[in-house]
């Protein structure tokens, strides 16, 4: 079984986001970048499945600028066998990304495609579902547990009401929740080994997909600042304020 894992390079989740002064976006120059956190869970799960002898090959794919190669390289260090970088200028919308991934799926013919449930930059939560619509494959979103059963997967999904379990036929798309597993750190020898693994570079423009934006970003602004509050000196004062001033208890 072959697993394709899609990974995205995003601003590290510990970085304080700053909006550009001209309101065209957020500052990304000289900012620490990392793999989108739930994409780490997606890679981890694929590696675990391979270690259990149920997968033979893991391909990590990223769509982005040249530097996204680092994100693919990290996936290789954790255990992916080969990498693909679909090179683009600038940021693409999930619809365009899913169309590009569709081309890779048609070429590589994986049995499963894993990715994070959502990217922490644009917070769209769309790519996995869109890819499964384009391929007409089953989808298991927000997965917190995956069991492989012959030509099927049993997946537990994190939903607002609690947990839902579904069974999907292979081939399928799974989007991973942070609760799925504990991503490992790449060991130094594996980081060295990853440098020798192949990364195929493909220009997005060579894949015959219309990636032009359909959504215009008119402006990006700082969210409204909260007014600074007050410090209270005692619990009694706090409770009195909550009761009589804020009127919330």
């Amino acid at each position: 079984m072959k697993i394709l894992v899609a990974v995205k390079r995003v601003i590290d989740y510990n970085v304080q986001i700053r909006v550009k002064e001209d309101n065209t976006g957020v500052v990304t120059d000289n900012v620490k970048m990392s793999t989108n956190p739930p994409d780490d869970n997606a890679i981890e799960e694929a590696v675990k499945i391979k270690e259990a002898g149920k997968a033979t090959e893991i391909i990590a794919v990223s769509v982005g600028e040249e530097k996204a190669q680092e994100t693919v390289r990290k996936a290789l260090a954790v255990g992916a066998d080969k990498g693909i970088l679909i090179k683009t200028d600038g940021v693409l919308e999930p619809l365009a990304v899913s169309k590009l991934l569709q081309k890779i799926v048609e070429k590589e013919k994986p049995d499963l495609v894993f990715m994070g449930k959502q990217a922490i930059d644009d917070d769209c939560n769309q790519t996995g579902q869109m890819l499964s619509a384009l391929l007409n494959w089953p989808q298991a979103t927000f997965a917190s547990k995956i069991e492989i059963k012959d030509k099927k997967l049993e997946v537990t999904r994190e939903i607002d009401e609690g947990l839902e379990t579904i069974e999907i036929g292979i081939p399928a798309i799974v989007t991973c929740d942070l609760r799925l597993n504990e991503p490992r750190y790449a060991s130094l020898p594996n980081i060295m080994k990853a440098k020798k693994k192949p990364i195929e570079q493909i220009n997005a423009s060579d894949l015959g997909v219309d990636t032009s934006p359909r959504i215009e970003h008119i402006k990006v602004e700082e969210p409204p600042k909260r007014k600074a509050g007050i410090k209270v000196s005692s619990v009694a004062e706090l409770v009195q304020k909550l009761k009589n001033e804020a009127k919330v208890i």
């Binding site: 365009a96 922490i120 579902q129 994190e158 379990t165 969210p223 509050g229 007050i230 409770v239």
Partner: protein
Amino acid sequence: MSVLLIAEHNNQDLKPFTLNAVTAASQMGEDLHALIIGQNCGDATKKLSELPLVKKVIQVEAPHYENFVAENFAPVIVKLAENYSHIVCSANTFGKNLMPRIAASLDTSQVSDIIKVISQDTFLRPIYAGNAFATVKSKDSKKCITIRPTSFDPCEVSGGSAPIEKAEASEEFNHTKFIKREEIKSDRPELGTARVVVSGGRGMQSGDNFKLITSLADKLNAAIGASRAAVDAGYIGNDHQVGQTGKVVVPDLYIAVGISGAIQHLAGMKESKVIVAINKDGEAPIFSVADYGLEADLFDAVPQFLDELNKLNTIQK
């Protein structure tokens, strides 16, 4: 053209956030139709038809719709979408799972999780977990929109009498099978919709000490939240996590106990109406968003808080 809202329900009742989505959808166009897909969902359909903002209800029933599988829902919605300018639903796990499947089939670039309708094609949405707000304009002729329910008020629930029309079901998708749903049953309000949330952080020092949070939450009829640090330390399950990678909450009152206020936690709670922070570190970033800050050791302050609450004649529920 008209706006089509996809109702979320459990076949008997409408899910509460459907009411917020109706309000949002009504701001995108005058003529709002609501689509309900399910099995034996007559009761929920009737409730939908009573919403004054809804001008027409379309009901589709079939056994394979009983458990809201997106692969079954999408084809029938895509077919009906022909007559509509906007397809709308809530950005909760139901809508997040479903809408992109519809959007991709319609070759539309979806606008996710909007918090404001600026015009029929322009919307405000948070990005980077609410650390920036983007004003975006959809250039697609058909728009697929999910809305953040807590950013819109629920609509009126009675007085309307929209006609109910039945539509033909689509075929079943054979590769996805629903097995079971385990709803977390609790006397406590749900974290996403609770009026009051009491959260603990790494300052709790142990899972056992979370009992303090539980007693405070019991007293205030509150949901229990936690910071990622507390979850990572194993003090409490991650279904309680508030923040960028957990739940985004907007309660009337948010009480942060022993939480320093990492960026990723603030992203999940800073829109709360009133924020209280209890922390012994006076420099903790949580105080920068707190309406009422108490610089104190939580192990003294929380028991005192309970005592003070016990002195009150009434506590809002």
